[in-house]
Amino acid sequence: MAEAASFYIFSGLMLLAALSVVSNRRPIYSVLSLLVVMFCLAALFVMLGAYFIAALQILLYAGAVLVLFLFVVMLLNLSPEALSRTRIFTLRGAGTLAALFLFVCLARILASVGEPPTGEARGTVEAVGRELFSAYLLPFELTSFIILAAIIGAVTLAKREPSK
């Protein structure tokens, strides 16, 4: 019972916050709504037994990625989006229709595959660590190259002098 209650509370709050991310006109409110999405998602991860991933979600997404977003939004001092009215309506209509269509497709797929089994996966730090350093050792080492490439790319892009 408590599980169902917390599931509905967290997923409802998460979907509301996601709608606010998409519909807010001020980017800074969108970033802060995304923070709510991340925390609710971490709660859902804990309910699904992914304890380590939930901690990672809060540390990496809420702690690092969103702070980066906040810095850039404040640095660039964005004004609310200004578009002509007709353009907004056609855009909104087309985008919402496409998203609804995708959701119908996904729902039909989910209905056709049927109910998955109900096992349990306990992603404690020990279990995840064992898996990470045995079966997934090579991908784990390769991620360091991705991070290195991202660091070099970000620094060279952001430090480039204006050419004009």
Binding site: A4, F7, S11, M14, L15, A18, L19, V21, V31, V37, L41, L44, L48, G49, A50, I53, L56, Q57, L60, Y61, A64, V65, L68, F69, V72, V73, L75, L76, L78, R92, G95, T96, A98, A99, L100, L102, F103, L106, A107, L110, P116, P117, T118, E120, A121, V128, E131, P139, T143, I146, I147, A149, A150, I151, G153, A154, L157, R160, P162, S163
Partner: protein, 100 residues
């Protein structure tokens, strides 16, 4: 009783909200934020299936997705800063340098 299908439906809804955001917003930063939403929807589906099958492989996939998403965001935000500095706009429709 909360079944894995419940989580998958929430994940599908989150993914579609992110897609609607990408299609409706024109600000580069907002598009990046909506991509993050879609990443997280995929993560939720991975973890729901990992729990359903009792296999940690799904959680490993989420670990790598988080790393790749962090790398993608740093480069994307650097490009956004460069756009606003050189072209004085963040509107995705006005940035058509690569269009011939």
């Amino acid at each position: 009783m909360v079944t894995p299908t419940h989580y998958l439906v929430v994940s599908a809804l989150l993914f579609c909200i992110g897609l609607a955001g990408i299609l409706t917003r024109r600000n580069v930063l907002m598009i990046l934020l909506c991509i993050e939403l879609m990443f997280n929807a995929a993560n939720l589906a991975f973890i729901a299936y990992a729990d359903a099958w009792g296999n940690l492989g799904g959680q490993m996939a989420v670990f790598f997705i988080i790393v790749v998403a962090a790398a993608e965001v740093t480069v994307g935000l650097a490009i956004a800063i460069l756009l606003s500095r050189q072209l004085r706009t963040l509107n995705a429709d006005e940035v058509s340098l690569l269009k011939w």
